[in-house]
């Protein structure tokens, strides 16, 4: 009967893995940070930069430069007087990456949904709840290759 002990090669490599825990798997990630002023009755917003909400989705669409997985949505609607939902849209269609706020709880987060984005997809946000003067939505998410 053959018996064995801990693999010697494994010991060497485990030591390396422990000593070098920073060997990460993320090559590069797209960070989408948007600030959307809710000054109009529009329900669409750009996924990055600062802009007002829009009534026409095509005016706020951005082109995805690479395939990635969108996730980790975080939203701050501080000052909202009404409940609102923010949703990532891909090619004009709603996705599962969304979250909702209320006047009493104006921030929300979604770390459990992920959406596959292909190179060339059109990205936009939908924001419900309508216009509110002086209100800005802070919306961010990451898109990892």
């Amino acid at each position: 009967m053959l018996t064995g002990r801990r693999s010697p090669v494994a010991l060497c490599l485990v030591a390396l893995a422990v000593l070098m825990p920073g060997a990460p798997s993320i090559a590069a990630e797209g960070l989408f940070l948007a600030r959307i002023l809710m000054t109009t009755a529009g329900s669409f917003g750009a996924v990055l930069g600062s802009a007002t909400n829009a009534t026409t989705e095509s005016t706020v669409r951005y082109l995805a430069p690479t395939a990635c997985t969108a996730r980790d949505l975080i939203v701050d609607f501080t000052g909202t007087t009404t409940a609102r939902t923010v949703n990532l849209r891909v090619n004009g269609a709603a996705t599962s990456l969304s979250c909702s706020v209320t006047a009493g709880s104006p921030t929300c987060s979604n770390t459990f949904s992920s959406v596959n984005v292909s190179r060339g997809d059109h990205l936009s946000l939908s924001l419900s709840g309508g216009a509110q003067t002086g209100l800005a939505a802070l919306v961010s998410f990451v898109c990892r290759p």
């Binding site: 053959l2 090669v9 490599l13 390396l16 060997a23 990460p24 993320i26 940070l33 949505l73």
Partner: protein, 234 residues
């Protein structure tokens, strides 16, 4: 019969090696009584190769993380601007803040305020406070960079830029920095496990996930005829 052997595992395709003690059973059957009792030793070439491979992984300090690129119009009064995208100077920091979607380390600030008539300092602010990631320029030397400071950012932080020096009509300032994703301990272990898998495939052994206690198990019988090629001296 029991016999101690020195076994060299210097395979040409992989430089990890060690020493082994072999016990051969009385009936001479190599598949019985052989104990695998190796003392680990990583050869310098293999170690160097693995270090290089792991050090070259993309999320180390010299890699590309999230990129923040700001273009700031200084035609308006104020001292705050967005960290990303096009914005005007604003007096109220709240209007210049963006929320961060992930943990990362901000570094490598670079700024170009070509045409400025006054000295300025550009700095990253987090949750309304200044950070060490800043740099200063003058009218005679209107660019600056900071590659030495790092700032740890956490998901949910509010980031903005501070720009001193005030209004200057027609001036556009540009400031950029990167934010390297936080190393993931689990990913690190997976990377180690991947290397282990590679080595084990070459050795024909099944790897174990690092961090978990290896269960005691029997090694499948090994043909002596095959092993002899690796026995240097007995």
């Amino acid at each position: 019969m029991q016999k101690d052997c020195r076994v060299a595992l210097q395979r040409p395709d992989f430089a990890l090696f060690g020493t082994a003690r072999a016990a051969i059973s009385r009936d001479g059957n190599a598949s019985s009584g052989l104990r695998w009792d190796m003392v680990p030793r990583c050869s310098p070439p293999a170690l160097a190769l693995l270090v290089l491979v792991m050090a070259g992984s993309p999320a180390h300090a010299d890699s590309v993380g999230g990129q923040f690129l700001a273009r700031i119009s200084l035609a308006t009064t104020g001292s705050f601007a967005l960290v990303h995208g096009i914005s005007n100077l604003t007096r109220t920091e709240f209007d210049a803040q963006l929320i961060l979607p992930t943990n990362c380390t901000a570094t490598d600030l670079i700024a170009d305020f070509g045409g400025t008539t006054t000295a300025r300092t550009i700095g990253l602010r987090v949750n309304g406070s200044a950070t060490s990631l800043s740099c200063s320029l003058t009218s005679g030397s209107p660019t600056c960079s900071n590659t030495t400071s790092t700032v740890t950012l956490v998901r949910g932080d509010y980031a903005s830029l501070a720009v001193s020096g005030g209004t200057q009509s027609g001036l556009i300032g540009r400031a950029s920095f990167v934010c390297v994703p936080e190393p993931d301990a689990a990913s690190g272990r997976l990377a180690g496990f991947g290397a282990l898998l590679l080595a084990s495939r070459r050795r024909g052994r099944t790897p174990r996930m690092p961090g978990r206690a290896p269960p005691a198990r029997a090694i499948p019988p090994v043909s002596l005829a095959n092993d002899r090629r690796e026995v240097d001296a007995c």
